[in-house]
């Protein structure tokens, strides 16, 4: 089994979805359930982290800008690390990710193993 990073992206400027408490509760449940399913197959390596929207981008010449969402429409909202047989299987798992139901997407990246 190889490890894969799943990166969740979402348009943070998108205000079309106005969540209600109930909606939020369900969203949380959906995430827990999706992650729980991955964990139940012993494929969860790390539940990763959720990222706050605030951030800065540091560029050459000591230029610091607020970002990163100014430049990219889809900001990284979080990531997890999973185990899967193949890139295809990792992508298959991502199809059920709740980020998709709010207009976001999942980027699946294989991790280069450091041990032979």
């Amino acid at each position: 089994m190889n490890e894969f990073l799943l990166i969740f992206r979402r348009d943070l400027a998108d205000t079309e979805i106005q969540p209600s408490p109930e909606h939020l509760q369900n969203m949380m449940k959906d995430w827990q359930h999706w992650m729980g399913g991955i964990a139940a197959r012993n494929q969860l390596v790390s539940s990763g982290n959720r990222l706050a929207p605030q951030g800065k981008v540091v560029k050459p010449g000591a230029v610091v800008t607020n970002g990163p969402y100014v430049e990219i429409k889809e900001a990284i909202g979080g990531y997890i690390l999973i185990r899967a047989d193949s890139l295809e299987q990792a992508a298959e798992i991502s199809k059920d990710c709740p980020i998709l139901s709010v207009g976001g997407n999942v980027e699946v990246r294989a991790i280069i193993p450091m041990t032979a």
Binding site: H33, G36, G37, A39, A40, R41, N42
Partner: protein, 413 residues
């Protein structure tokens, strides 16, 4: 005489804890010898002369005298052999053995932390706890672990050798040690409880004793403000909730009764309430440990009549618990909760993704899920479960499930 076995249960471990603390943990065998001799003397003397007025005080006095003799002997040895060595406080041990309640409690607490030393394997820690903190006999421990006397004897002897070699000390744990060691202590108590609760041994009385002992030791931890923690409180709540079903989960023959088939009137309300109390205490801070999650799951299992939110909550808690750490039992229990919330067909889909084909409980679960949906599949899985089961007790339980399905389909299969 019923009194002596009872006193052996309650007092043997206290004497050992106090003596080990007094002599040092490397002298564990000596402490055990003195405690054993004390009880042998009691059996002889009381058999001949009848019961003393205060049997417990009598035992303590005899133990103290035997210990004092031992100390004198050591002293003579040290004075003769080590006369040349400059005075060292350790060479002049106190001769007074303190068997007050407070010292007993302290000694047992310190012993718990000493036993949880990472140098010892977890199974050795549990065996030592059972032997010297709970006073169970080697035979009883072997019974519960479904293994031989020799295995347990060896395990204990090796553990004691390690303790001696590593010079593990019984001290009051410092703040730092409490932090480092308490996770191991809690795990040991958790496993000790599980040993009683989930053991395949048929001896129900003994298994219940294990659970009660684990609860007693956890309470000692909670009652001392230095060693108490919200995790310890959550663990205790978990134990209370589980223990509340102890009488309901075995039948008269000592066979396991599945959760769905239990007589809820046998659930112990008092223990459930106690569990509420400690789970509330455990929930004061922000900490959310595995014990908190497991206690919350156990709480929902004490809720009768399956209200809608019950299995939904259990499912969410299992999701969180699995994200914290994987275990096959958790994965299977999560799937059971899915069956209760989303129905058996969806649960079957989830179950078949688990990849636990060699696990007998996986096939028991699928047997349950396919019941009323596809009887021949259900039977197929239960047969597989029976062939993978490790104990007769489990095979009997699975056999009962098989009979039930066969009866339901009217002997067609």
């Amino acid at each position: 005489m019923e009194l002596l076995p009872h006193l052996f249960r309650t007092e043997y471990r206290k004497i050992i804890a106090v003596l080990s603390r007094h002599f040092g943990l490397d002298q564990l065998t000596l402490a055990e010898d003195i405690a054993s001799e004390t009880f042998l003397t009691a059996a002889e003397t009381w058999g001949l002369k009848g019961l003393p007025e205060n049997p417990v005080a009598w035992l303590y006095t005899v133990a103290k005298n035997k210990a004092r003799d031992q100390i004198r002997r050591q002293l003579v040895f040290q004075q003769k052999i080590r006369a040349a060595i400059a005075s060292d406080e350790k060479l002049l041990p106190q001769t007074d053995i303190d068997l007050s309640d407070e010292n007993i409690q302290d000694s047992q607490l310190q012993m718990m932390f000493a036993i949880a030393d990472p140098i010892l394997a977890v199974e050795s820690q549990i065996a030592l706890m059972l032997r010297i903190l709970c006073g169970f006999g080697i035979e009883e421990i072997a019974d519960a672990f479904l293994t031989s006397r020799e295995t347990i004897h060896k395990r204990l002897t090796r553990a004691k050798e390690k303790i001696r070699a590593a010079r593990i000390k019984i001290n009051f744990p410092t703040g730092e040690q409490i932090g480092q060691r308490s996770e191991a202590v809690l795990l040991c108590l958790y496993l000790l409880f599980n040993e009683g609760y989930y053991s395949s041994a048929r001896n129900t009385v003994l298994r219940k004793d294990f659970c009660m002992e684990a609860m007693r030791l956890t309470l000692i931890l909670i009652e001392n403000e230095k060693t108490n923690s919200s995790r310890a409180e959550a663990l205790f709540a978990l134990m209370c909730f589980h223990a509340s079903r102890f009488d309901a989960r075995t039948d008269e023959q000592g066979e396991i009764v599945r959760y769905d088939d239990q007589d809820v009137s046998l659930w112990n309300e008092e223990l459930i309430l106690k569990g509420h109390y400690y789970l509330n205490l455990a929930s004061r801070g922000n900490e959310l440990s595995r014990y908190h999650l497991e206690a919350a799951i156990a709480y929902w299992h004490t809720v009768k009549n399956d209200p809608v939110e019950k299995w939904d909550n259990i499912l969410q808690l299992y999701n969180q618990l699995l994200c914290m750490e994987y275990s096959s039992v958790r994965a299977l229990n999560r799937t059971y909760a899915i069956a209760k919330t989303a129905g058996k067909p969806i649960a079957i889909q989830e179950a078949e993704k688990l990849g636990l084909d060699e696990n007998h409980l996986y096939h028991v679960l699928l047997g349950y899920l396919y019941t009323d949906i596809n009887s021949s599949k259900a039977i197929e899985h239960l047969y597989k479960a029976q062939s993978l089961a490790k104990t007769d007790r489990e095979r009997i339980l699975i056999g009962r499930d098989l009979d039930k399905i066969r009866r339901a389909v009217g002997g067609e299969i």
